[in-house]
């Protein structure tokens, strides 16, 4: 049987801020997107804020309505990434099989390579009966573990202790232990904050699944839940009674996942961080601190974004040929989107022409020209509040991408020189003249590591 640990930090960004500044501890805080505190959504809410119903991803005005005393803290990506790196360094001491699921979530598989001295197992800390081992500190919560997971349990305790001593005493995580990733993640979600829960075997899995809602399992979202409800399925017991054929007929290949999830089956392997799949796209988006229909301003922001994604593509020696541009119209004072057609409920424009294919490139100006064409074909002249751009269809930049044309060669020399200077002195030290005097775009904290890879 496999041994998987799922380690998930509790209210990560908020807890790191409370670690840095003890005056924020025990208070409801919300972490916002850097310097655009007026407009962005909450990147994270502290445990205290969550008690008021404040949730990650909530608009700031909504959070203030629920919790008028909420303290807004400007997010700092560097701080969170550094804590994640330190955390991964701790985990690496226990197993090389680490899958970085997001900035604050990791799966770890152990293969009995860690061999604690028998005396380390606290004899008084638990009751040993047949296969059940119930540690004192969690016995009251009716959480059980078998001896098979005793080592994993001790590793989890050590990890928690090391996080406190090596990263910060205020930072806590919930750890779930089980025999596959799906169940380990579920176990981790059962006790928050600072939980440690084991789902030891399929029998226990079925019992737990029968007590939770359908969308408490990772992979079943709100829409799938609604579709299942329409089929008369409201809990996992009912889902287990549905034949696989009906589920695959209704949900295609996703039906297999639902069939297995209802039984706690998950064969998916750990994908170590050093074997992560190739990068599919590089993207950036920016929420403006006011609504704007000023073409020059929109152009400057878009160019800055395309320069940033081009820099990241060049740093990874990639070129791409599909450019996507999207944007969000502004809000009326009463909170409705100014334009209600051709936008999905989130307000992001999804019309035709948002995707343009060009020659393979990693030049910011070329990406900008495509993105600008795309933007102009979609934009109706109303004020916008957010704009984003991405480049996909990536491939490695090899000598065959090089041109024999002098003007192309000259451009490459200029770009190389620009990169060299900006690498040494910082982003946008040298920039196109149209960007002179424009505000800096900072990376806002987000849990998705996208193209980042960790070296631990």
């Amino acid at each position: 049987m496999r041994t998987i640990l799922h380690i998930d930090f509790n209210s990560y960004f908020a807890t790191v801020e409370q670690q840095a500044n003890p005056r924020l501890r025990g208070k409801p805080i919300g972490v916002t997107g850097g310097d655009r505190m007026k407009r962005t959504v909450l990147g994270a809410a502290s445990v205290e804020a969550k008690k008021f119903g404040v949730k990650t991803g909530m608009q700031i005005w909504e959070a203030k309505k629920l919790c008028p005393n909420i303290i807004l803290v400007s997010g700092d990506s560097d701080k969170y990434l550094e804590c994640t790196k330190r955390f991964l360094t701790i985990l690496k001491a226990y197993s090389p099989y680490l899958e970085v699921f997001s900035i604050d979530e990791v799966f770890m598989e152990t293969y009995e390579i860690w061999d604690p001295a028998p005396s380390v197992i606290p004899a008084k800390a638990g009751i040993h009966t047949n296969h059940l081992w119930i540690p004192d500190q969690v016995r009251d919560d009716n959480i059980k573990t078998t001896c098979d997971f005793a080592n994993a349990y001790l590793i989890a305790q050590q990890i928690k202790s090391r996080i406190r001593s090596e990263i910060g005493e205020w930072i806590t995580c919930s750890i779930g232990i089980s025999y596959n990733k799906l169940m380990a993640k579920l176990a981790g979600s059962l006790q928050k904050p600072d939980g440690l829960v084991v789902i030891a075997n399929p029998e226990e899995t079925v019992k737990i699944l029968d007590e939770i809602a359908l969308d408490e399992i990772c992979g079943i979202g709100g829409r799938i839940k609604v579709r299942l409800n329409k089929m008369g399925i409201f809990h996992f017991k009912q889902l287990r009674q549905v034949p696989l054929e009906i589920l695959t007929f209704q949900f295609k290949s996703y039906g297999n996942f639902l069939y297995n999830a209802a039984r706690g089956i998950d064969e998916s392997p750990i994908i170590p961080f050093y074997e992560k799949e190739e990068i599919q796209s590089v993207s950036h988006r920016h929420t403006i601190d006011h609504d704007t229909d000023d073409l020059r301003e929109i152009k400057q922001i878009l160019l800055k974004l395309t320069e940033l994604i081009a820099r990241r593509a060049r740093a990874k020696k990639l070129v791409g040929k599909t450019v996507n541009c999207w944007f969000r119209y502004g809000l009326h004072p009463r909170g409705e989107y100014q334009v209600t057609f051709s936008v999905h409920p989130g307000g992001v424009f999804t019309g035709n022409g948002m995707q343009i294919t060009i020659q393979y490139t990693n030049d910011g100006l070329e990406i900008f020209q495509a993105a600008w064409r795309s933007f102009q074909s979609m934009w109706n002249g109303s004020k916008i509040r957010m704009i984003g751009v991405s480049i996909s269809n990536l491939k490695p930049q090899t000598p065959q991408n090089l041109s024999f044309l002098d003007e192309v060669k000259q451009k490459e020399v200029i770009i190389k020189a620009l990169d060299k200077i900006n690498d040494k002195y910082g982003e946008f030290t040298l920039k196109r003249a149209i960007l002179l005097g424009t505000p800096i775009i900072r990376r806002t904290p987000n849990p998705f590591l996208t193209d980042r890879r960790f070296k631990v």
């Binding site: 790191v16 670690q19 500044n21 701080k79 910082g426």
Partner: protein
């Protein structure tokens, strides 16, 4: 919280070979660092900057040490 970038003088010591601020001077006050809550780094180009989030007398301060210029700055203050 007051955010600033003010050059300051700092007394430091090396604990386990690691640089740590001991006392700093701001507004004609001598402030002894009681606890270092978090240390993180940022990069501006190739220039590495160490940020120390520290506490003293129930107040919060954020100090920065610029590795290139070897200068200290006070970045944030929350007192009272």
């Amino acid at each position: 919280m007051l955010e600033l970038t003010e050059p300051i003088n700092v007394w430091v010591f090396f604990k386990g070979g690691t640089l740590q601020p001991h006392t700093f001077f701001w507004k004609q006050r001598q402030i002894k660092v009681e606890k270092i809550n978090l240390v993180h780094t940022t990069k501006n180009g190739q220039n590495l900057i160490f940020h120390f989030s520290v506490s003293s007398g129930g107040n919060f301060y954020k100090l920065a040490f610029d590795l290139e210029s070897l200068k200290w700055f006070l970045e944030a203050v929350e007192e009272g």
